[in-house]
Symmetry: C2
Subunit: 338 residues, 2 copies
């Protein structure tokens, strides 16, 4: 049976991340232990900040991809655990630097590290975690995995710089937006998945399929995230509705609403997102405009398209409970929006 199904239009029980979590629970416990031990340092502030971030949760989707795509090919050893932890460190470093760049106050429902320890410490502890991530990758000893993850590291930063240029500019195009999310989010999902077959010595076609799956899942994930910022449950995300709006981020829902709105609508978005003149009721006004133009629905539609592509990418991979769980993870990421 094909793993491709209509994404998130299944009847019956809601799709869940739980099967993947259950299958990877042993490996993820090892990842969490490694993360805590490698976040240690004689320099007091480092483990403090690292533990703050690490204990603040998040689903650890990226390291789970690394474990799952290695175990799927019967990987034996500890290398996948080490690579998974280094993927999470890369992600955590990015979050620390992102919050500084975006001047964010909150992260996953807690005060952002930069509000607690300052921008300076956030920059430097991010650098430290990135250094530790590379050290761990070197421990694993796969030059190909190192190549994939160091490439992702450069691409993520490039995407962030691109986003900075696009930030608070209502002229940003859909193509520019897609380029940004591919670099800043999907590239790490892709790399996290790709290194699984690589360290398992699976063949190049498997490596490419895993990469495609991670990339498309990452794109779907970010599109849904950007839609959720204007609606949906904030408890799931640990982020409040309207964060992107208040920070002047130009995401796909906004790009679609501007393209489809009137000149007066455009002036509204310009005032809120470029000039940061946001008054009472403006967030409601933004959400209303997104609804009128079908911008949220069409953002989700695009996420579904990438979700379908992620499911197709799974087809050549070995059938079994891991593949089924990876397919359900795609459905779950998209179903978050209901």
């Amino acid at each position: 049976m094909s793993v491709v199904a209509s994404v998130s239009d299944k009847k019956g029980k809601d799709p869940s991340i739980q099967p993947l979590v259950d299958l990877m629970s042993e490996g993820m416990e090892a990842v969490n232990r490694l993360i805590l031990s490698k976040a240690g340092s004689n320099v007091e502030m480092i483990p403090e900040i690292a533990r703050h971030l690490i204990s603040s949760g998040g689903k650890r989707l990226r390291p789970m991809l690394t474990l799952a795509l290695a175990e799927m090919f019967g990987y034996r050893g500890e290398g996948h655990v080490t690579l998974a932890a280094s993927v999470e460190f890369m992600h955590t470093a990015t979050l620390l630097h992102d919050d500084v760049v975006d001047e964010s106050d909150m992260r996953r429902g807690k005060l952002a590290a930069r509000k607690l320890w300052g921008n300076q410490a956030s920059v430097l502890v991010g650098d430290y975690l990135l250094g530790q991530a590379f050290k761990m990758m070197v421990d694993v000893g796969s030059l190909e995995a190192l190549r994939i993850l160091s490439e992702a590291s450069a691409v993520i930063a490039e995407g962030e710089v691109l986003q900075l240029g696009a930030a608070q500019n209502v002229e940003t195009t859909e193509a520019q937006y897609m380029q940004v999310i591919e670099a800043k989010t999907a590239a790490l999902f892709a790399a996290a998945a790709e290194v699984g077959p690589v360290i398992s010595n699976a063949d190049a076609a498997m490596q490419q399929a895993a990469r495609r799956y991670g990339m498309d899942l990452g794109l779907a994930f970010q599109l849904v995230d950007d839609a959720l910022d204007y609606g949906g449950s904030s408890a799931d995300l640990g982020k409040d509705i309207g964060d992107d709006f208040r920070e002047g981020k130009i995401t796909l829902p906004v790009i679609l609403a501007i393209a489809r709105g009137s000149d007066a609508d455009r002036a509204f978005w310009k005032r809120c997102l470029e000039a940061h003149e946001i008054g009472d009721g403006d967030l409601d006004g933004a959400i209303e405009r997104l609804r009128q133009t079908d911008a949220l629905a069409d953002t989700i539609l695009r996420a579904r398209t990438f979700g379908q592509s992620a499911l197709r990418a799974l087809e050549p991979l070995p059938a079994g409970p891991i593949r089924d769980a990876l397919a359900e993870a795609v459905e779950f990421c998209i179903a978050r929006v209901h």
Copy 2:
């Protein structure tokens, strides 16, 4: 003949970095070409900022160490050029992040990147250069070189966090200061030198000697730098006298002056460096206090001690023009202070 000589008390001509520059000129041209090509990106701001930093000069001492310590062992190939460029990228990334953390306005006599492009771009372009640095190291394919340089990357960040904790605290001890400069400066000198014998397949004793040389040279270099901040020619350094003083940095000259001064002196340093209440004449007052307590002279004396140790570390390495040039580079770093 031993390469150990009394550092910088030679009669006759001044010690110079020129012999090392001349010997490495061909390799450094290749390094510079590689740096410019790898600093490229479709994202406009990246090459702009990278070129600003790269063209603003500096002596490129670190990549020269990598080239010299590889060529000394007859290295054939391009790997040493690639590693040298990645060392310079690591250094440049550190400078970008440092300027953000220190809120510096100037770097090598030009406006700091953060003043021209903003803190956000400086953080992200630093991340990009670090990612590129790791990609280049992976291209060389030496896991041992990767281990050494990724370790340095984590240690540098750790040192910066430590410095942040010590910053603007006149209780900082000499031991804490030494720990900071070993991590934030000397670790990269050590790694840059160590990877030379490593990729040349020289034996472990050579690798250790190169590392020791780099470490001690780095310590001497930073001690002299910290002394120069309170006197000497600013044209040489592209930094103005009193930068550290205005930023509240607690360096060895200040630590010695506080330890040897009166309670009134201590109150003076506390006011200037902790409370940042600096008025006209305070920099002169600081320099006068450093002179009265022999703090600058003793800082230089410590630099000389590390310089001697760097020269001793060179002894087991192959004799010849490269070793002579590396010895003279030590003398040059210390002679900057006269």
